[in-house]
């Protein structure tokens, strides 16, 4: 691979030799490498979150268990939720944004390659920072939505909540920077002829996700600032005795939090919408309806946040409005589900692993969607809220939905990213273990929830009828763990095989399959021109057969941005600014000033770095 590039390029002015070594990864601005960095670190965090979940399940495997203390349980369930959302599903989606948005658009990189690297490093530092809290036995312990006034200094005097607040602030910087970048990329970096309504559905759903990120994250930023001021500087935003109102936290949190759940699911919708047509051998059913239902879901997502707060007693009018708006979201969501079914129906289905996971996604997401509509109704919600029924619901949409789709995407795009096909046999074992394990773990939660088992409580007394169901759930979680061990085994086995994946193993419809697997640094030797929604299918049809295997070329003369170490240093600056704020009472304001100066210094060096 590397040798062929060198031999072609001896005489060229700008050659692209495969760079290697750790420094090349630290300074990389290549969207594909950054995508792999996102994927690798997010998968590690995902495994940590999974181990946390296993510990929780072991504790709940029998009544009045003493495997975990109440305090340890609180830390673990808080970190499980926070990790899976911010360090698992979001960055795993970001891996696909990074690697595949430019490829699907026919672009050579994202709009701002260095900003892209910056986003990744900030994310990594934020994730590490959150997990470092375990070393101080001070992991966040107030739940992933950190309700006031449990998070106040009075009730949470330790560093736990500070770690959570600061960690989320750091991750917010990463998400916002990435969102600006990908938004601009989709607006401006499309191949010739790729009008908005010709963009692949994954790009569309990712694009809508960026808009949600841009509009939702500033709200949580402000909420976290207020909480930080309460904890560090003695304000009373959420202290009822001094006039503050803990309810404001809930409002601000869910104004962010509800769009956030669409941030978690829309990329998954996009991935499945790419996979189903390819394995059904027919175009996506109802393309325009898919685009507009996605946009409508996102728009409505800003008007339903209070359905998370029916139990606070907002009053009948507010309850009614938010209930109706929430039920309305079922309509565009249903449109999407019918379109997926319409895509599969009558197709000549190729039963490969990505299709398995995609079909699993549709089935599981329908269950999660339906239980979601159930607690859109305030009287039903009052019975279900804070019970395991809700836990069952959101695992059906986030695990049964997002994780199934992300796994489908991993199997689908693995050959493109690494030049090797994952084993089909192990992939199907992985699927069935995950499918069975998932349903064993989470389906019984519907019942224990409706029987009244509260969530976020570290144990339960014997004799309430929860035992058997909880044992099944714990057993199911072990099956899930085995499923992911099979996946890891598959990855290791695949890494040992020769990199011989063809450019287009699935008979794909989109541009990424027109270039070698893995792509060269510059992606496209010639900038592609697009005439339809399924450009590659169209080209193949016109040629009356398969495309020739694309040659590896030197890419002489194609300009690529230089590697830079300023993104990682600036990311370090962001991290130190926030950490110095957290420790202001120990280190003093001088530390903040120093950190801000360091950050500004990095930004200046970055801004004035020669581009050539």
């Amino acid at each position: 691979m590397a040798t062929s590039a060198v031999s072609h390029a001896g005489h060229a002015s700008a050659i692209h030799v495969e760079k290697s070594g750790i420094w090349s990864w630290i300074t990389t601005v290549d969207h594909k490498r950054i995508g792999i960095l996102y994927g690798a670190s997010a998968f590690l965090f995902f495994l940590i979150g999974g181990i946390e979940a296993l510990l929780l399940r072991i504790q709940l495997g029998s009544p009045e268990n003493t495997f975990l203390s109440a305090e340890a349980y609180n830390q673990l369930f808080t970190m499980h939720g926070t990790t899976m959302i911010f360090l698992g599903v979001m960055p795993l989606s970001a891996m696909f944004f990074n690697y595949f948005i430019p490829l699907l658009l026919g672009a050579r990189d994202v709009a701002f390659p260095r900003l892209n690297a910056f986003s990744f490093w900030v994310f990594l530092f934020g994730g590490l920072f959150l997990n470092v809290s375990f070393l101080f036995n001070a992991a966040p312990n107030a739940g992933w939505f950190g309700y006031a006034n449990l998070t106040s200094k009075q009730y949470s005097p330790g560093l736990n909540v500070d770690f959570w607040v600061i960690g989320l602030q750091i991750l917010g910087v990463s998400s916002l920077a990435a969102a600006v970048n990908f938004f601009t990329t989709v607006v401006n970096m499309r191949a010739k002829g790729m009008k908005l309504m010709r963009m692949p559905m994954f790009v569309w759903m990712s694009f809508i996700t960026q808009i949600l990120l841009l509009l939702a994250f500033p709200v949580i930023t402000v909420a976290l600032i207020l909480l930080m001021f309460d904890r560090l500087f003695g304000t009373m935003f959420f202290t009822a005795s001094l006039g503050g109102d803990p309810l404001l936290w809930q409002h601000l949190f869910w104004i962010f939090g509800h769009p956030e759940v669409y941030i978690l699911i829309l990329p998954a919708f996009g991935i499945v919408s790419e996979i189903l047509p390819v394995f059904a051998r027919k175009p996506l059913f109802g393309y325009a309806a898919m685009v507009f239902s996605g946009a409508f879901i996102a728009f409505l997502g800003f008007g339903v946040w209070s359905h998370h707060m029916f139990a606070t007693g907002m009053g009948p009018i507010a309850d009614t409005v938010f209930s109706l708006a929430t039920m309305l979201i079922a309509v565009p969501t249903g449109v999407k589900i019918f379109n997926w079914i319409g895509t599969v129906a009558g197709g000549s289905l190729q039963f490969r692993t990505p299709l398995y996971f995609s079909l699993g996604f549709i089935a599981m997401f329908i269950i999660g969607g339906l239980s979601g509509v159930m607690h859109a109704s305030p009287p039903a919600d009052l019975q279900q809220t804070d019970t395991y029924f809700v836990v069952a619901h959101f695992h059906y949409v986030l695990f049964g939905g997002s994780i199934f789709a992300l796994t489908a995407g991993a199997y689908y795009w693995w050959p493109k990213m690494f030049g090797r096909m994952l084993s089909e046999k192990l992939g199907k074992v992985h699927f069935w273990l995950m499918f069975v394990g998932f349903n064993l773990t989470f389906f019984p939660m519907h019942f224990v929830g409706l029987h009244g088992m509260p969530r976020r409580v570290y144990t339960y007394p014997a004799g309430l009828g929860f035992e058997t169901m909880n044992q099944i759930e714990t057993a199911g979680s072990m099956v899930l763990a085995i499923a992911f061990l099979v996946f890891i085994y598959n990855i290791i086995q695949t890494a040992r095989k020769p990199a011989d994946a063809p450019a287009d193993p699935w008979n794909g419809a989109t541009l990424e399959w027109s270039i070698p697997s893995p792509p060269q640094e510059f992606n496209f030797a010639e900038e592609p021109v697009v005439h339809s929604r399924d450009p590659l299918w169209e080209t193949k049809r016109e040629r009356g057969g398969k495309l020739p295997e694309p040659a590896r070329v030197s890419g002489a003369g194609i300009h690529l941005p230089n590697p830079s170490y300023w993104p990682i240093l600036a990311a370090l600056g962001v991290g130190s600014v926030f950490v110095s704020i957290m420790l202001v009472h120990t280190l003093g304001p001088i530390a903040i000033a120093a950190a801000v100066l360091f950050f500004f210094f990095c930004v200046f060096k970055w801004a004035f770095e020669p581009a050539g």
Partner: protein, 124 residues
């Protein structure tokens, strides 16, 4: 080495999608209007807080008057100084759509809290 030479093709004047920006004359006129509107805001405030028939008349409509004046200033700066009037419609969308969501958030939060408190006190 002049690393920025490559920016030349996308310079302002060569951008086919954007009409040219107005000159200082227009900016100064808008500046005068902005100044007058600000003066009106403060004047409205002063009059409404002074005893007298005009004050009593203005007091109840002070908030909507101030909001209108503020909206007018906001629109003038956005349209003329931020060039939304001449520049691509995309930029207007990028500003106006978040502004709508922002307004919805502010208004509904205020309404929700007013409603919540009156409901809890049994006033509804």
């Amino acid at each position: 080495m002049d690393s920025h030479a490559a920016h030349a093709p996308e310079a302002q004047g060569l951008d086919p999608h954007e009409k040219s920006h107005p000159g200082p004359g227009v900016y100064i006129k808008i500046g005068v209007v902005l100044f007058v509107l600000t003066a009106l805001e403060v004047a409205a405030y002063e009059v409404a807080h002074r005893p007298g028939s005009l004050g009593t008349l203005l007091q109840p409509i002070l908030v909507p008057v101030l909001l209108l004046l503020s909206a007018a200033k906001f629109a003038l700066v956005a349209m003329y100084y931020m060039h939304l009037k001449q520049d691509s419609k995309l930029f207007s969308g990028l500003f106006v759509f978040p502004l709508i969501i922002a307004a919805v958030v502010i208004v509904s939060l205020i309404a929700l809290f007013i409603y919540h408190y009156s409901y809890q006190r049994g006033m509804l």
